[in-house]
């Protein structure tokens, strides 16, 4: 009896050619590239409509981005965006929409700043301590949404949005003189925590373009662990299975409730890291004028990067480049920096639509290919039969 299937190549050793499917890569790249081009077109159109030269604006951005000081600024920003996007992506992989990264990282940052100001251990203990504090705070804050979802059926979208608002209020309550901020004699209006101890400062690399934050190492590490966990561990398989089909996962024995809580806590813990580069490398305290919006940027970056560690690395770099170079626009010519959010917004909208289209096309194409191959096999078998 001949098997209709071609003799199996030993599955354990797949050649490089088998691993790299050019068509799949092409399909995966088509959507983001098209989205970026389309958004540049729209932004260029807007600039032209307001009587400005879009090519000049783009060249200002490009020149800044290729200069060494620009590159360092982009990398530093991208580090932060990458962490935020990793937090969002971890939830997305399980179909959980963690919009609460915003609140999680601010709260975590404040606690880390407070602890960093109160404790002064040697750096090799102090730095891990701050990382752990931030991750715990972020994870705990996120766990509220997870528990509400599992035991009360509250959509995590709603609860995390509300938790963002509550986080702001909690910060307002805690960040007062006597609690998290030191009692000052009151010459300054801005309230902030005490400066973190010197041992809390993360290492940095001085380059000719400025200071490159050492936190980029943490971001890379997060990416590697993310990829490994998702693709090589049982936990990761359960998580992806739940994301693809909750019903199939639960029939296969995944404890979906526990999975929801675990993954939202992990997402929150990653979110807790988002504020640390700023705190440990740039501004050594947490104050009222802390940068906001990183959580939402993270969601956009994760969407563009398709929730894969490598994908979000590229999209974090792109977003960081747009932000950093966009800030140069008003100073080097009569260009509004608002054009940058327009570009980012259109990229995200286009890419979401394009990914869905590409996904459907890919599925259909594969079905057709499988059908055609099977028909060919059947025809070959029939011919053999006739010959025999």
């Amino acid at each position: 009896m001949t098997s209709p299937n071609p003799p199996a190549a030993p599955a354990a050793k797949r050649s490089l050619r088998e691993r790299i499917d050019l068509e799949r890569i092409g399909l995966a790249l088509a959507a983001p590239v098209l989205a970026v081009l389309l958004s540049l077109l729209i932004a260029g159109g807007l600039l032209a409509a307001s009587g400005r030269d879009p090519f000049d604006a783009f060249s200002i951005m490009w020149n800044y981005g290729t200069a060494s000081d620009g590159q360092v600024a982009v990398l530093n920003k991208a580090t932060v965006y990458y962490l935020a996007a990793a937090a969002a992506a971890f939830g997305f992989r399980m179909n959980l929409f963690n919009i609460g990264i915003e609140g999680q990282y601010k709260l975590a940052m404040m606690f880390a700043a407070f602890v960093g100001g109160q404790v002064d251990l040697p750096a090799f203990l102090q730095i891990p301590l701050l990382l752990i504090v931030a991750m715990c705070v972020g994870g705990l804050w996120a766990s509220i949404a997870g528990l509400l979802k599992v035991y009360r059926g509250v959509s995590e979208v709603i609860s995390t949005i509300m938790l963002n608002a509550i986080a702001t209020a909690v910060i307002g309550v805690l960040l007062v003189p006597g609690i998290f901020a030191p009692r000052t004699s009151g010459t300054t209006n801005s309230i902030q925590t005490e400066k973190i101890s010197d041992s809390s400062h993360f290492f940095a690399i001085e380059t000719q373009g400025g200071t490159l934050w050492g936190f980029v190492v943490i971001a890379v590490l997060v990416g590697v662990v993310f990829q490994f966990t998702l693709n090589r561990t049982r936990f990761g398989f359960d998580l992806r299975a739940t994301g693809r089909s909750e019903s199939a996962a639960s029939a296969s024995g995944v404890n979906v409730k526990r999975m929801v809580i675990t993954s939202i806590v992990v997402s929150g813990a990653l979110a807790g890291l988002v504020g640390l580069p700023e705190l440990m490398q740039n501004t050594p305290y947490f104050g009222q004028n802390v940068q906001t919006g990183l959580g939402f940027i993270g969601i956009s970056v994760a969407l563009l990067g398709r929730n894969t560690p490598v994908g979000i690395a590229f999209s974090a770099l792109l977003f960081a480049f747009l932000d950093a170079s966009g800030a140069q626009l008003p100073t080097r010519g009569d260009y509004p920096s608002e054009i940058i959010p327009v570009i980012q917004g259109t990229i995200v909208i286009c890419v979401v639509v394009a990914y869905e289209l590409v996904r459907r096309y890919g599925l259909k194409r594969q079905q057709q290919k499988v059908g055609a191959e099977l028909a060919a096999q059947a025809a070959a078998a029939a011919q053999k039969e006739v010959a025999a």
Partner: protein
């Protein structure tokens, strides 16, 4: 991909014309073309001698062609009358005139539909009549019925056939899709058989025998689920005691879905559960799998109490599961085959070592399953969605069997699977049974139940109301127990039984001629390929 080619069918007015073919033979595609849901690449359709072209179902309706789908499309919280008028408001308005028209049609065709009843209060058979009336209301003179008997018990099937004869007498043409031989022979005036997407022959039901028809349909001889030596042992494998589950329904009223269900399955025994769908079978399966919390009762497998354990622990303890809805519960459709092989057994070898996955091991074992279970696929990297239903099912069965289960829960294991694959699946379940597997079999196909099971229990409204020995019961008697008409131990009248078995010997079971090849998993290639034509769908 060619799903249909060179199909020639001529249907006479005022007849019941049956279209037969195994699953995946191309019946559905043909129907979609006739109903304007899909456009043919070549060929013509003529209605009443006039050549027509349909680009949407609306065109087909305008020509008097109506379709009753296998899955009903009714709004539960509307009355019959509202459901019928919905979308056809322009015909007779939405008021008394419309209602009068519904009564008139119902009387004319003897459908006995009550316009003011709420659809959610109706049974399956009544809902089907509402669907038929809905189509007639829109002026259809040609009705297409897609496997209308799949959801009905034998008594309801007879009632449906009476309705069809009535429609025929009124000059309505009925195109009736089915693969059940005895039903087609009893109701059809003409028969067309489709195999591998093309018409292979027409038959006159007065002259053709069931055996000839089956041969036309399948084109190969197939094994039967009949006759074999008992492998039932005395060792108890599964014991379920006093299972009770109550769920609140849409209105918040507590409904008891499983009430005091107790059963035991011994090693090497297949216990069949008969019942009309929605009587608690799905809940029973989920309760044994640990997917539904119990209100009362215990589940014991091979002496180990599993009552409080989670699904994963139960799977590790040796429960294999072939789910009723493989797309929802059995597969990750957009994941490659080898990841689907891991699903459900992620903690076991060869899928993982410790907490780490072993993709290489899983891939190698997937290839083994593909070869051994004859899964037709170009490779193991393609997504599960690109396989046809039968091949998806073979993959699932291969996966579940690969972990030498003690108990296999098989819910409708051959649903939506072509006859060739069906025979293989039966044989695989059997050979595992010979090695001491206990099987809980849920099926809507009474022939399958009677053919495979060692014992049959009947479930009705969440209770096990009757039991039967498959050797001494007919499908008809089982059917009446399924409607709650009979309880206790049912045994058919020996005469009726002998008659039924004679019919079976000559008819239905000719689908699967009795000399069962023991190496069925690798045999029957010609029947199997028909299924692959669905691959592109």
């Amino acid at each position: 991909m060619v799903a249909n080619h060179d199909i020639d069918i001529t249907v006479q007015r005022g007849t019941v014309h049956a279209l037969m073919g195994e699953n995946g033979a191309g019946k559905s595609t043909l129907m979609k073309i006739l109903y304007g849901m899909q456009k043919p690449d070549e060929g013509t359709i003529a209605v009443n001698g006039e050549q027509v072209e349909f680009s949407t179902p609306a065109d087909a309706i305008a020509r008097g062609i109506g379709m009753v789908h296998q899955h009903f499309m009714l709004a539960d919280n509307f009355t019959v009358w509202e459901n019928i008028v919905l979308g056809g408001e322009g015909l007779h308005g939405i008021g008394a005139k419309a209602k009068a028209r519904i009564r008139e049609l119902s009387d004319q065709y003897g459908l006995g539909v009550k316009p003011d009843a709420l659809v959610e209060d109706l049974g399956v058979a009544d809902r089907q009549r509402v669907e038929i009336l809905k189509v007639l209301y829109r002026g259809a003179r040609i009705l297409i019925l897609d496997e209308p008997t799949a959801v009905l018990v034998p008594q309801e099937v007879d009632a449906l056939f009476d309705n069809l004869r009535e429609l025929k007498a009124e000059g309505v043409t009925v195109i009736f899709i089915s693969h059940k031989l005895h039903e087609v022979l009893s109701v059809a005036d003409a028969i067309s058989v489709i195999r591998r997407g093309t018409t292979v022959g027409d038959a006159d039901p007065r002259e053709v025998t069931a055996r000839q028809l089956a041969e036309l349909m399948v084109g190969a001889e197939l094994p039967s689920p009949e006759s074999r030596e008992s492998t039932v042992t005395e060792t108890e494998m599964l014991r379920v005691e006093g299972l009770r589950i109550a769920k609140p329904d849409a209105e918040g009223v507590e409904r008891v879905v499983l009430d005091d269900v107790s059963l035991r399955i011994r090693k090497g025994e297949i216990l069949g559960i008969a019942g009309v769908e929605g009587n608690g079978q799905a809940e029973l399966v989920e309760a044994v799998m640990g997917m539904l919390p119990l209100d009362a009762g215990t589940v014991t497998l091979d002496g180990t109490d599993l009552t409080g354990t989670l699904t994963r622990a139960r799977r590790e303890a040796g429960i294999g599961y072939i789910p009723e809805d493989r797309h929802r519960h059995g597969l990750l459709l957009e994941a490659p085959l080898w990841e689907n092989r891991i699903l459900g057994h992620v903690t076991e070898r060869p899928n993982s070592k410790g907490v780490l996955l072993d993709p290489a091991g899983a891939r190698a074992d997937t290839q083994r399953i593909v070869d051994e279970y004859d899964v037709r696929t170009p490779g193991i990297e393609v997504t599960a969605a690109s396989l046809s239903g039968g091949n998806q099912q073979k993959l699932i069965i291969g996966r579940e069997m690969s972990h030498s289960p003690k108990l296999l829960i098989a819910a409708h294991p051959t649903r939506g699977v072509d006859v060739g694959a069906q025979a293989q699946i039966w044989e695989q379940i059997r050979s595992a049974q010979r090695e001491g597997l206990a099987v809980l079999l849920i099926s809507a196909d009474l022939d399958e139940l009677i053919g495979l099971s060692d014992t049959i229990r009947v479930i009705y409204r969440g209770r096990l109301v009757a039991d039967a020995d498959p050797a001494t019961v007919t499908a008809e008697d089982l059917g009446s127990a399924m409607t709650g008409a009979a309880t206790g131990h049912i045994e058919s009248d020996p005469e009726a039984l002998a008659e039924a078995q004679a019919v079976v010997a000559e008819g239905t079971e000719a689908e699967h001629t009795s000399d069962a090849p023991t190496d069925a998993p690798t045999d029957a290639p010609s029947a199997g390929t028909a299924d692959d034509e669905q691959a592109g769908e």
